[in-house]
């Protein structure tokens, strides 16, 4: 079975400060790792994903994440946040399931940016 743990339910940060959102996963099989963002009253949008290769993955809006296999972590970072980054961030693992992808989401981290 797979599981995803997002250690922080809320992260308040001042504008232009750096931020790290933590994610750890557990799986007995190889998985793919994703970060999705949900802006207020909207659906989810892909930020970035790790499939293979370089462990540092760059995504949209200046976000990046680093895959660490030994620590089973996939932490999300941004060097300088903006008010517009206020949203809920979901870490997820994906496993193949027939001709679908089965995604298991973490519980989410609410990023709130203070001016």
């Amino acid at each position: 079975a797979q599981s995803v743990t997002q250690l922080d339910s809320q992260v308040p940060v001042f504008e232009e400060a750096p931020v790290e959102l933590r994610c750890n996963y557990s799986s007995s099989v190889s998985v793919y790792l994703f970060w999705y963002v949900q802006y207020p009253n909207q659906g989810l949008q892909l930020l970035l994903k790790y499939l293979s290769g370089s462990t540092l993955v760059k995504g949209i809006n200046g976000f990046e994440a680093e895959f660490n296999k030994s620590q089973t972590s996939f932490h999300l970072r941004k060097p300088s946040v903006h008010i517009s980054d206020t949203a809920e961030y979901f870490c997820a693992v994906s496993v193949p399931y027939s001709s679908a992808s089965k995604i298991i989401f973490g519980s989410g981290t609410r990023l709130s940016i203070r001016p």
């Binding site: 994703f34 989810l44 892909l46 193949p96 399931y97 679908a100 992808s101 989401f105 519980s107």
Partner: protein
């Protein structure tokens, strides 16, 4: 231009009623999904269809019945609505390559409130 659309956006109804939510995607994807997001923002997959065939059927009450008339549409019908069904329901789609690496594209959500 909307990639994944859902109707209605809001649905308020009484306990015991039957309601449907519709989803359409114009991305040419083969696989579609339904997710439920509860009041604590926790997201869980409910169903997945690939080209009109049911692929994923999680532990969901049989009051919930998905229907896929064609690969671009996946509707969700809910019988005998209960208070606990109140949530935001998201539709998503992906190419359906079956490797687990697909990006899923989400609709804007349908907020269901059962009174």
């Amino acid at each position: 231009d909307t990639a994944v659309s859902q109707t209605p956006k809001y649905l308020v109804t009484q306990m015991g009623n039957d309601k449907s939510i519709k989803c359409e995607q114009n991305l040419g994807h083969d696989t579609m999904y339904w997710y439920k997001q509860d009041s604590k923002k926790f997201l869980k997959i409910m169903f997945s269809y690939n080209n009109k065939e049911l692929i994923i059927n999680e532990t969901v009450p049989n009051r919930f019945s998905p229907k896929s008339p064609d690969k671009a549409h996946l509707n969700l019908h809910i019988n005998s609505l209960e208070l606990g069904d109140s949530a935001v329901y998201f539709c998503a789609s992906s190419q359906g390559v079956g490797t687990g690496s697909d990006t899923q594209y989400f609709g804007p959500g349908t907020r269901l409130t059962v009174l």
